[in-house]
C-alpha cells in the first residue's frame, strides 16, 4: 500500500509540475546576446570605419536589445568595423530587422527559419548596402526536455547563423 501511495504522490507531483510548466511554458527567459553571437565569421575585409547598430522586429525571446548587443559583439570580435559607436557620430548606421521566425508549434526536434533584413546607411543617410538573409537553426530532441527550451535554442541558433551570414556578406563590401 505504501508503494501505491508513493507512486500516487509522485504521479500527482509530476502532474503539478507538468501543469505548471504548461501554464508557464512560454515564460522562458529572454535570450542573452551571447546565445545569438556567432563564434567565427568568414570576414573578407575589416573596415577602418565606425558604425552604430540598431536592431528591430524582436519577437518572443529574441529582443531588440539582445539582437543589437549580439551584432555589436560579433562586429567587435571580428573587427568588421573598427568600432561600434553608441548613438550618433558613426560613419555608418547598420540596421538589422528580424522579419519572420518560422517554426513548427510541436515536435521532437525544432528547426527555426529566420529572415532578417540587413541595411547599412552612410552618415549622410544614403544607402550603402542592403540584403535579406535567410537562415536556419535546429535544436535536437535530446537537447532539452521542455519543448519551449528547444524552441528557444532553435530561435537563437537561427539568429546566430543569420548574424554570421549577414556580417560575412557585409565584410565583402567596399566601405
Amino acid at each position: 500500500m505504501s508503494i501505491v501511495n508513493t507512486i500516487s504522490s509522485r504521479g500527482l507531483a509530476a502532474l503539478v509540475v507538468c501543469a505548471a510548466a504548461l501554464m508557464t511554458g512560454c515564460a522562458v527567459a529572454p535570450s542573452t546576446p551571447a546565445a545569438m553571437t556567432p563564434d567565427n565569421i568568414v570576414t573578407a575585409k575589416q573596415s577602418p570605419k565606425t558604425t552604430s547598430v540598431i536592431a528591430t522586429g524582436g519577437k518572443g525571446v529574441a529582443t531588440d536589445a539582445a539582437m543589437a548587443d549580439a551584432v555589436t559583439a560579433a562586429i567587435e570580435k571580428n573587427k568588421t568595423f573598427s568600432k561600434v559607436v553608441q548613438g550618433a557620430g558613426a560613419d555608418y548606421q547598420l540596421t538589422v530587422a528580424l522579419m519572420s521566425l518560422d517554426m513548427p508549434s510541436f515536435g521532437a526536434s525544432f528547426t527555426c527559419k529566420a529572415e532578417m533584413a540587413w541595411s547599412l546607411k552612410r552618415a549622410d543617410g544614403t544607402a550603402a548596402w542592403q540584403q535579406v538573409i535567410k537562415s536556419e537553426g535546429t535544436a535536437g530532441a535530446g537537447e532539452a526536455f521542455v519543448g519551449t527550451e528547444r524552441a528557444k535554442m532553435a530561435i537563437e541558433r537561427s539568429i546566430r547563423e543569420n548574424i554570421g551570414q549577414g556580417l560575412s556578406a557585409l565584410s565583402k563590401q567596399n566601405l
Binding site: 528591430t56 508549434s105 542592403q130 526536455f145
Partner: protein
Amino acid sequence: MLNLKRLLSLAFACAALVATTGCAVNHATASLMPEADLGKVKSVYVVKTPQDGRGVDELIKKDLAKRGYKVEGGAEQTPPYKTDAVVTYIDKWMWDITMYMIELTVTVRDPANFPMATGNSLHTSLTRKSPEEMVDEVLTNIHNAKK
C-alpha cells in the same frame, strides 16, 4: 487503483505535451524598417505561398483591396516587381476540434523584394480568430506600425 492509473496517464500525457510543444502565447506585433514609407504604396502584388492550400493569398488580396490598394497576385516573380510593394506571408494552422489559423506573418517588401514592414499575429485555440480576422488584424497592425 483506477485513480492511480488515471493520474499516471494524465501525468504522462502532460509530460509529453510539455516535451513536444513550442512557445505559444497570444500576441500581435508589427514593425517598419526605418526608411520605409508605406504611404507611397498604391499597388501591391501578393505572392501566393506554394504550400498555401487554404486561399490565404485571396484573403490578403481582398483585405488590401478593401483598404483601397490596387491588388494583383500570383506566383513569385523575379524582382523588380512592377507594383509599388510586394506582400509575402507565412500561415500556420493547428488542430483543436477543428483546424484554425494559429499564426500569420505578413511581410511588405519594396519592388526589389527588400522588406519594408512586417506584422505577426498569434492566437491559440481559446482566443482563435477566423482567417479573415487574422489577416485584418495583421494588416491593420502593419498600417499602424511606428518606426
